[in-house]
């Protein structure tokens, strides 16, 4: 099992993010014809969806009928809602920096596969499956972004960003399962119940994404007279976040993948 130290050695040094920032700087200095935005500050407020499902599994062992039994929980994360907001500053030419905060929450299930030792015989476990529902996953992420911003037209701005993330994750984990013995000859068991342990942990990760902003509202006939509309637009953000956290259930570590692809839309304010 991967240790916390190993995970940090994999992601914690943030070396890739730094390399990415360095790359942006080089590109900015050498970019001859990329139009730079005229507004230096952009604020966002989005809501959206994390469309991709992902799973992780955890196996726990226990003692029953004088032998070691176990159950495996396959956590099936569903799509969930994301609220995302942030602000970015144009620093130099096309290069900017941003700070975003996102919150993801979903209620999902876990598929439980249990192996329970037989009461009469050694090495003849019974297996059963069940589902544990109502499990909550919440991820609060702070994403630091280095941006490459390109204003393709007065009304269209595209930015590419990448950087490190700090993710605070909360996950409901199945800590134990209960079964009902069907009775003699005890070849069958029925999954009856489960208990849940809510675990939280904070870790670091990476983020990368593309933001397409459009400031066309002031061109609409009925908004033309409102000058503030030149500063308001709409945008679409596609962001991928990746992180790994190690949660504990009764001192047993469980490695959990965080993040994923999320797509959000919302309003943009540029100044």
């Amino acid at each position: 099992m991967r240790t916390r130290q190993a995970i940090f050695s994999r992601y914690g040094a943030l070396a890739p993010a730094l390399w990415l920032v360095a790359g942006f700087l080089v590109m900015a200095s050498d970019a001859p014809a990329q139009p730079a935005p005229t507004d230096r500050i952009v604020a966002r407020l989005d809501s959206g969806w994390r469309p991709a499902s992902r799973t992780f599994a955890a196996t726990r062992v226990f003692t029953a009928n004088l032998e070691q039994g176990q159950f495996e929980a396959d956590y099936e994360l569903r799509n969930g809602g994301v609220v995302d907001g942030g602000i970015s500053f144009l620093l130099w030419r096309n290069l900017g920096i941003g700070l975003d905060v996102s919150n993801f929450r979903t209620i999902h299930e876990a598929r439980i596969t249990s192996e329970l030792p037989h009461p009469f015989f050694f090495d003849l476990p019974r297996t059963t499956t069940g589902r544990a529902g109502g499990l909550e996953r919440q991820e609060l992420g702070i994403h630091i972004r280095a941006l490459w911003v390109s204003q393709l037209a007065d009304w269209l701005v595209i930015s590419v960003s990448a950087g490190p993330s700090i993710i605070s994750a909360k996950q409901d984990l199945v800590s134990s399962v209960q079964h009902i013995e069907v009775g003699f000859p005890f070849n069958e068991i029925v999954f009856a119940n489960h208990t849940v342990s809510s675990q939280s942990e904070t870790t670091t990760g990476l983020n990368g994404g593309v933001d397409i902003d459009s400031y066309f509202l002031h061109r609409l006939p009925f908004l033309r007279n409102f000058s503030v509309m030149e500063h308001i637009g709409v945008g679409l953000l596609a962001r991928y976040v990746r992180g790994v956290v190690e949660l504990q259930v009764d001192d047993e570590p469980i490695e959990v993948d965080l993040g994923g692809l999320q797509v959000t839309t919302g309003v943009r304010f540029r100044f």
């Binding site: 009928n65 004088l66 037989h118 009461p119 009469f120 015989f121 050694f122 090495d123 003849l124 003699f184 000859p185 005890f186």
Partner: protein, 581 residues
Amino acid sequence: MQRGVHHGLLAPRLELLLMHALNRLVFGAVTLALLTLAASVAAQPQAPNGVLTLSAGSGSAITALREADTLVNQLTRDGSLRITRQDPDPLLPGRSHERLQQFHQGVPVYGAEVTRQTASGLPISVFGTLHVGIDLETTPALSVDDAARVVQELSGRTLFRSALPRLVVLPDRVNTGVYRLVYEARTFTGAQLMVYFVDASTGTLVWSYNDLKTQQPVLPCAQCVIGEGLGIKSDRKKMSVTTVGGTFLAHDQLRPAEVFTFDMRGDLPRTELVLNGLEPLFDVDLSTDSDNRWLDGASVDAHVGMGWTYDYLSLRFGRDGLNNQNVRMLSLVHPVNRADVFSAPPDLIGLYYLNAFYCGLCGPDGFGVVVFGEGLPPNILVGGQRFNFFSGALDIVAHELAHAVTDFTSALLYMDESGALNEAFSDVIGIGVEFYAESLFRDGAGVPDYALGEDVIEPGGIRSLSNPQRFGDPDHYSLRFLGKADNGGVHTNSLIPGHAFYLAIEGGTNRVSGLSVAGVGAANREQIEQVFFRAFTVLMSRTSDFAAARAATIQSARDLYGANSAAVQAVTQAWTAVGVN
């Protein structure tokens, strides 16, 4: 023996019916046999001196089967046959089995039974023995109390409350056609479970035999928890036990039939009182352990072995325990102290040290008890063999419990050929359980084979179904024991059907006849187990002999696997090879 009194005033209706039916049966069967040259299991209605043997199965001429069925119906309507048991077939849907007892003027005729198998009301097989022409007055001169006093004088024991004498018509064992009105009573003497037949007129002892089913001849819910025990070979076993007040007791409540293992702690006088039903057993008498890690191998193996035997009966044959109604299973371990063997009389050594036995009417509730012998100190050899705790051999545990199954089904008379069949069935079950449990043992224990008792009587065991001659037992009918010892050699002649069972599975050539058998193969052993179990529990009757066992097992194989099946071939060849035709 006194011949039954012929009154001659009128021919009883039963006799007329039987004689009429007999004539039709014999004529019909012989005619059809000649016409069809039917082989295999032909109907064999024979009535030498008034004893009618019914042996009609699906291999017989259909007319003979119908005649036998009609006879049974007529006698049932007449009241001469009464249904004593009726069960659905546990294996074949739509089939059912009846067991009928013959009565004469309201008194049961000892050993006269018929089993009938039907499918949707149509007869499939009829086996059994009936007595024709009984002419006997059934008003006894002695009362039940008088008979009980006679038996108590004969045995020196108080009769079981549940086993007071009952009136029966006893066919003479030597002179066919001679009958006697007697009282039948049972009592456990401490070394024998004696069955007495006392003349209902004179109070004299007519016949007696020892019905104690021994392993070998006497001569030689919230409280449920799982414990870990070590058998006599230090092999790990799980035990289903009960916890009461922080102590763990050998009381299995997880199986539909409760399993009790009592530790008599070497108290033989108390053991005898318990067996006689004169003293109850309490929780404190159960084998016990303080930390649920059981180290008394005799208790562990007895308790686990009974449970596994229950599992085998249930899962292999669909039988609910010993009586098919989940009667409790009860055993006693440590009936004596090993250290006392040097001062024990020979009969006690033979029973409580060098044996195991099932006592059918014993115990506080009269539902039977298994007692496992204590064995001998490790440094003592008998015949070059060491004797360990008898409960340490799973085949012995199952063997003894199978006697209970027999008692609750065919009740094969524990004497002569029927007694040998009784023993053979127990051996078959013992072997069957051992193979069934092969994958359940741990730590190198429980290697299955066709030897009996090899795990506790070392080296070799006490009997071998694969090679009966190894222990001097007959492997062919021509070599059968014809003496009176051991109830007519029940532990000796049992190897003839036992060897047939082996050959039907494994195949091979009989040493004496030189005939070869194409067995069904070890992978199909369950077929032969099913065949024998069905034949012995639902098709055979109290006085079945080897020939009847042959017919019943072939019928059973036909029922289960079809007339042209490998099982039918194997069973038929096996019986022929051991000289039973």
